[in-house]
């Protein structure tokens, strides 16, 4: 009696030579490595506050000056934050121009709070006349204690009108 030779459901040519359990294991291991390295990537954030006029200087020193505060916060200890900061004036006809640049500032964290830097020293005199609108822009990097550099940049959320004009002089 004739009996047909049954065809194998999976042709031999595409049968996996690597055991399935090994393949699954490798994928799981790769996923685990990716997850661990992603969680080890240091994260730093920068916060650029609005440019404002120092009321204290105006009141007590009769000094008209524009001021900006910037902070950086990392999830690991930092050696220092290095930034270049622009005070940018909004031009009424559109666009903006750099009124003042404070380049290459280096700020070190206070002992005891190694992951945080607050820059308060950025004041520029208002020698010009009339009101103006400003925003602040900062770009630079954070050097971590482990030697890695993390790039940071940010700007204040919106321009602030001041009765204080920064002169280019």
């Amino acid at each position: 009696m004739f009996q047909p030779n049954p065809k194998p459901l999976i042709p031999k040519i595409i049968k996996a030579r690597v055991p399935v359990w090994l393949l699954v294991g490798a994928l799981v291991a790769q996923y685990a490595v990716n997850t661990v390295s992603a969680s080890n990537d240091p994260n730093c954030t920068i916060h650029v506050q609005r440019v404002h006029q120092s009321t204290y200087s105006l009141e007590f020193q009769k000094l008209s000056e524009a001021k900006i505060k910037i902070s950086t916060l990392c999830d690991v200890a930092q050696a220092y934050t290095s930034l270049t900061v622009n005070f940018e004036e909004v031009i009424p006809s559109g666009g903006n121009k750099v009124a003042k640049t404070v380049a290459n500032i280096i700020a070190r964290p206070t002992p005891g709070r190694d992951n945080y830097v607050l820059i308060e020293n950025l004041t520029v005199p208002c020698n010009g006349k009339g009101p103006a609108e400003y925003f602040g822009r900062a770009v630079g990097h954070v050097l971590l204690m482990n030697g890695r550099k993390v790039a940071v940049k940010g700007n204040s959320d919106k321009p602030n009108p001041l009765n204080c004009r920064i002169s280019a002089k």
Binding site: Y56, S57, V102, A103, I105, R108, I119, E120
Partner: protein, 166 residues
């Protein structure tokens, strides 16, 4: 209160022009003290000093001089805030140290001012990457030649005159 005494209290309100004038004022006004300190540091490898509301610790390690600073009344120093390499002969090193001392004192005055009228918010210790004795300071890091031209254009005579007036 003299203008110099007033600058010692301004801290974070001390503007760039005033800091530079202060540096030039200190270089000339405290030259004798700085020279004596330079000899001391070269000999003993360590030197302590005070200015405004800060304490400074200089260290000489081989050819590299660095400074650490802390606010008076606090325990921890900000370590190795600025370092420079000393070069050439003893006379040149001494001149380098004089400039380094003046630079350091301006930075400490900026960060740890004396108690004055001006309110000082808590802040991190800030310096500028290029010191005043580096021409790149005057060009914002765009080279020494541009820095030299900008330095020649800089005029701080008015502030220096005010500083010299007791």
């Amino acid at each position: 209160m003299s203008f110099y005494e007033e600058l010692l209290t301004l801290g974070q309100h001390l503007h760039e022009r005033e800091r530079l004038a202060l540096y030039n004022f200190l270089i000339k006004g405290k030259n004798d003290v700085y020279v004596a300190n330079a000899f001391s540091l070269l000999r003993y490898k360590e030197l302590r000093s005070e200015i405004a509301n800060g304490e400074i610790l200089y260290k000489l390690d081989g050819d590299v001089v660095s400074y650490s600073a802390r606010k008076n009344g606090t325990y921890a120093f900000q370590e190795d805030i600025r370092k420079i390499q000393l070069r050439f002969n003893r006379s040149f090193r001494k001149r380098q140290l004089v400039k380094f001392f003046a630079q350091t004192e301006v930075e400490v005055i900026w960060n740890f001012p004396l108690q004055g009228q001006t309110l000082q918010a808590e802040s991190s210790y800030c310096i500028l990457l290029y010191p005043y004795f580096d021409l790149r300071y005057f060009s914002n890091g765009r080279g020494r030649f541009v820095g030299l031209i900008n330095k020649i254009k800089t005029n701080d005579k008015e502030l220096l005159t005010k500083l010299r007036t007791l």
